[in-house]
Symmetry: C3
Subunit: 269 residues, 3 copies
């Protein structure tokens, strides 16, 4: 059973590389370059279209829509909502990264608006953000979460039922569920917390994976596993953050299904 | 004849380094950092001024204006048009990168507005974009072109006459023309398609070269040749995209007229 | 006396790493990613919050506010002023980087507005900018200063009295004063002028240091010394700009109080 699941997960890497999904990203400017580069290295094609009068039509051309709520300006915020409506109409998968929703309550309004007029297929946040959305308190500071992950899977499942979507909470361990199937991934590296954009880049990869596969749960597991295994390899090559960032992009590019299979530490629930 | 041309082309590198042209860039946020860094490595001075109430006066101080249409917001779009007017009045060369004009037809309105109230000295796009502007269909997906380049030079010449400017179309081969003189450059590396911003950075270099030389055609050939030779050297040093990006900036910095001459694969037409 | 001062300066590195100050940055998009990454490597936590309706409340959560005037859009500009008001009310230190104030006179209006409704604890600019603010002419071109630094300390002291804050002017030598105590730092590397964002990153570090220490003068000296020593080490490892940028982040991460002490070339005035 577990091997069957893992096979399905790792295959998504090849599906991304075969399909080259166009991932339409509306994301913060801090890490927008990193998101574009990691998408290219993963095998996808990035498009950072965010002009209000372009996004509705552009979503139609895309394989997936990635919305990241970190420091969006007004035009981006409105474009994000409109893009999600287009995604609903045109049946394009939507991945949401609710950056800083626990620190900036206004983000919740944007999420509710997206749920109201658009849709969310996958929500991927750090454990603090996911717990907050599930109605639980957590230890957060600014955009960072210092939560140890206790009770995280239960929160993911609850949020999955509330939003009717796949939910992923990242931290030392990563928790993914679609309400029925769940996985805990124990790969990764502490170095992710020493560079900006690890979470944003991961969200973009979730978009790419969902743009290549109908099975959003399995696609999300692939994106998170890919990021974590590449992170582990990058850390082996470079244990300082400047060099680590460079190697991370290299290692995403050099991923193979075999590497994912060999390295995976997944517990299926 | 060919050697005379090549001499003229390679000399522009020294002209950039002697003049240190101030290149005023209005460009997308995805790759704005890359554009600034490659300009510095080439020998130019970047200025990313885009505030609507500053650009008119700032253009006067500049050696060249680079406008890149990728994901401009409203303020940038208006600033780009106004800056082009200032460039016309103050006789500053304008390089335009019509990013995604084939995928997002609204871009054409901005281009037409720039032609109407400002001017364009050089238009540099991928083959798909240039063909689209010349009225020909092409194989594009999002911001990327998968065109093989057949008929590209003819399209460049047609567009050059339509817009009365130098035209460059990039792809596996690069095509440059001012309507009278034409060149095909066969240098470069596939790795340019694995990192974001190769095209944007090249556009910025075209701005720098045009800011250092009156001969826009020859300047554009230098910018494209410099990018391609540096790309070839970077790929020799690093065949994965994260490291390649770093080496590309290094190799632009380390370019010399001799390296350009030795490596150049240019066919003059 | 000098050793006591140097001890106080170097200790701030540990204070940053113990406190992990949350540095709220409103900064230009050219180098926003670099600022976030260098803050993480220094030991601080970056937050690039700039939405007008979020900044007032977000400042309260922060240890310091860093405002960088390079190419701010309208929303950022208004957010910067509002954030400075919040910082005044909530007693959060404010570091201002007056990028391009000598080239774009409109920047002065923003600075005056911040002084009127908010406050400035530290102003850190290049020598050209600081001289301009102090009412002296200087040799500037775009955002870059080519000033040799003659009379710089006097200008810093004058501006310190005018704005009632700590003032730092950077160049070949760096000058810091709070009006009573002054320091001249002779560390650093020419390579800072070959990459974009050296000044912006330094400003962010000043924010982090001031977020960890009450003594703004000593904190600013630490930030500048840290940047310079890391730059010297990065240059030893990589003398080309692409690689230098990567190593700079690595070297900030690897700084220690001992390295700062051994390398420091500070003249106290």
């Amino acid at each position: 059973m577990n091997n069957i699941n893992l096979d399905k997960v790792t295959k998504i890497l090849s599906e991304v590389r075969n399909k080259i999904p166009l991932v339409h990203c509306i994301t913060n400017y801090v890490t927008i370059n990193d998101c574009a580069n990691i998408l290219l290295s993963y095998g996808a094609s990035p498009a950072m279209c965010e002009a209000y009068d372009e996004v509705f039509d552009f979503v139609k051309l895309s394989s997936a829509l990635y919305i990241n709520l970190g420091t969006l300006n007004k035009e981006q915020e409105q474009a994000a909502v409109l893009a999600s409506t287009s995604a609903k109409i045109h049946d394009i998968p939507v991945v949401l990264d609710p950056v800083a929703c626990a620190a900036v309550p206004k983000k919740i309004q944007v999420i509710n608006r997206i749920l109201q007029v658009g849709k969310i297929d996958v929500i991927k946040g750090n454990i603090g953000e996911i717990k907050f959305l599930a109605g639980q308190s957590s230890n957060v500071k600014g955009v960072d979460s210092f939560d140890t992950g206790e009770g995280a899977l239960e929160c993911c499942i609850a949020l999955s039922q509330k939003y009717k979507c796949t939910v992923a909470a990242t931290g030392k361990k990563d928790f993914i569920t679609d309400g029925k199937r769940s996985a805990v991934i124990e790969n990764g590296t502490e170095m992710f917390t020493k560079v900006t954009g690890s979470g944003c880049m991961l969200g973009a990869l979730c978009g790419a994976a969902c743009g290549a596969s109908e099975d959003k749960f399995t696609a999300t597991v692939n994106a998170i596993l890919s990021m974590n295994i590449a992170g582990e390899e990058a850390f082996k090559a470079a244990n300082t953050p400047g060099s680590f960032r460079v190697k991370l992009i290299d290692c995403i590019y050099q991923l193979s299904e075999e590497k994912l299979k060999e390295g995976a530490k997944i517990v299926w629930k």
